[in-house]
């Protein structure tokens, strides 16, 4: 598949029958980026948010519950590991599975904040992620039904995967990677834990970049 002029040279491939997990220059870059941010989520201490006292010039630092932050850190690491899986998977089903896991862990990162407005937002994201799962696995199912395989390696350059399946995959990824939804709501300004919140955006962007590569390849 690396004769395709899309993602640069092959660096490593690991075969499991017709399923080939591979690292190209492109996916390796994404993999390394995700790894760097997992390490940051593990070692970084969260920021202490400062806020302005309403109606005055005073500024105060918010107190953060350590138990909640531990849960957020766990979810951020799980999210990072799922992202690693999604960027190096050579199979549409595995990609969909890891992407769905990213959606779940993203909700976990948001839900780790002990604030009823943020929890309410996490509930809304959960609904979006669940709906997106339908598209994600629907896209993979359509590809399997049409081509008889889910292997990206096998499907590369043949143009067999129908456009509707590709669109379903993109829609699914857009729903699971919740950064655009999260950023558009006021709750993010209330949520502490920069290294963990950032993991939501890292995972959302990386799966979007991966799905672009997949739809161009298959």
């Amino acid at each position: 598949m690396f004769n395709l002029p899309i993602e640069g040279e092959e660096l490593f491939a690991l075969e499991f029958g017709d399923i080939v997990n591979y690292f190209s220059l492109y996916t390796t870059t994404l993999f390394l980026f995700a790894t760097a941010f997992i390490i940051i989520a593990i070692i970084a201490r969260p920021e202490r948010q400062t806020d302005i006292v309403f109606g005055t010039d005073a500024v105060y630092t918010k107190e953060i519950n350590q138990d909640n932050l531990r849960f957020q850190r766990f979810m951020a690491i799980a999210c990072g590991l799922a992202t690693l899986g999604a960027v190096c998977s050579g199979d549409l089903f595995n990609f969909s599975l890891f992407t769905a896991l990213i959606g779940i862990t993203n909700i976990g990162i948001v839900a780790g904040v002990n604030n009823r407005y943020v929890l309410n937002a996490a509930y809304n994201y959960g609904i979006v992620a669940m709906v997106a799962t339908t598209f994600l696995f629907g896209g993979a199912s359509m590809a399997l039904g049409t081509c008889g395989t889910l292997s990206i390696w096998e499907l590369a350059g043949k143009g067999l995967v129908p456009l509707a399946a590709k669109m379903f995959l993109v829609l699914g990824v857009m729903g699971e990677g919740m950064a655009p939804f999260y950023i558009a709501k006021a709750e993010i300004t209330r949520a502490p834990g920069a290294p963990y919140v950032l993991m939501i955006h890292v995972s959302s962007l990386l799966i979007f970049l991966r799905v672009i590569e997949i739809i161009l390849t298959v």
């Binding site: 002029p5 640069g8 492109y26 290294p195």
Partner: protein, 280 residues
């Protein structure tokens, strides 16, 4: 390649200075000397450096290093004829670094800048339209193949003008003082860079100088083709001055309008690419 990075940084900083000077002259102000940004960066390099007590460490420092690393990588991709998809990835990853910069300090101004940076990720959608369009026209995403295509078929600037416009808008959205520069709006102080001073700010200036250099070089390579280095620099300067004119004449849009405008542009381009794909 590494020996080219340092001149690229200085040229990028000089371009920032020229950008400020052109905007100032259009607005009938004297403006700073064109080497002002180089002096700024040198000054920041030797100023007292501190880390806010509220900052998330080591993320506060790490994100500056990532910013420099990704644009150094982008420089390598462009000048080694690498994959355009990888360049697209760098542009998207830049959004993460912008976001991380703002979040890591704990400052509310930084956080608002960070939020605006993710909102303005809509500015990357025209880039995807550019990539899809170039792939439809040239059949390849390798920059080396695209420059070879232009040697045979002529510049893509005339052959695929709407795609060039899309890329131009992407560059415009990343320019300082532009209509889409909502992350640096003065109502949020310096946005996501508010709390990064001293050597951290110098690091960011280096990264952004490389960014400007890479963006302009990529535009020239993708839409005009490979040129001798001096013609390449002249072409980049012309593109930069045209961008400065737009920045000088247009007010900064509100976050909502910035996102809406970029989405509309992408929609129009998507229709163009579909037509191109069907007819082609």
């Amino acid at each position: 390649m590494i020996t080219l990075i340092i001149p690229a940084v200085f040229i990028g900083l000089l371009f920032h200075g020229i950008h400020r000077k052109v905007i100032a002259r259009i607005q009938e102000r004297p403006g700073p000397p064109i080497w002002q940004e180089i002096l700024h960066t040198l000054k920041f390099s030797f100023k007292q450096t501190w880390i806010p007590k509220t900052a998330s460490m080591p993320m506060y420092v790490f994100i500056v290093a990532v910013s420099i690393a990704i644009w150094t990588g982008a420089f390598y991709i462009v000048f080694s004829g690498g994959s355009l998809l990888l360049l697209f990835a760098v542009f998207m990853l830049h959004k993460i670094t912008e976001h991380g910069l703002g979040l890591s300090s704990g400052s509310p101004y930084g956080k608002f800048g960070a939020i605006r940076s993710v909102m303005s990720a809509a500015s990357e959608i025209p880039l995807f339209a550019t990539i899809a369009g170039i792939y439809v026209v040239t059949g390849s995403l390798m920059i080396s193949d695209i420059t070879r295509y232009q040697e045979i078929h002529g510049p893509l600037l005339t052959g695929a003008f709407p795609i060039a416009i899309a890329m131009y808008i992407v560059i415009l959205s990343k320019m300082h003082y532009g209509p889409f520069s909502i992350i640096e709006a003065k109502e949020i102080v310096s946005g996501n860079r508010t709390e990064h001073f001293g050597v951290w700010r110098a690091g960011l200036e280096v990264a952004y100088a490389l960014k400007t250099f890479v963006l302009l070089a990529a535009f020239v390579l993708l839409f005009i083709g490979a040129l001798p280095w001096y013609l390449m620099l002249i072409a980049m300067l012309i593109v930069l001055i045209s961008l400065s004119f737009i920045c000088a004449f247009t007010p900064m849009l509100s976050p909502f309008d910035a996102v809406a405008m970029q989405t509309v542009i992408t929609g129009v381009l998507a229709v163009y690419i579909i037509i191109l794909g069907v007819i082609g």
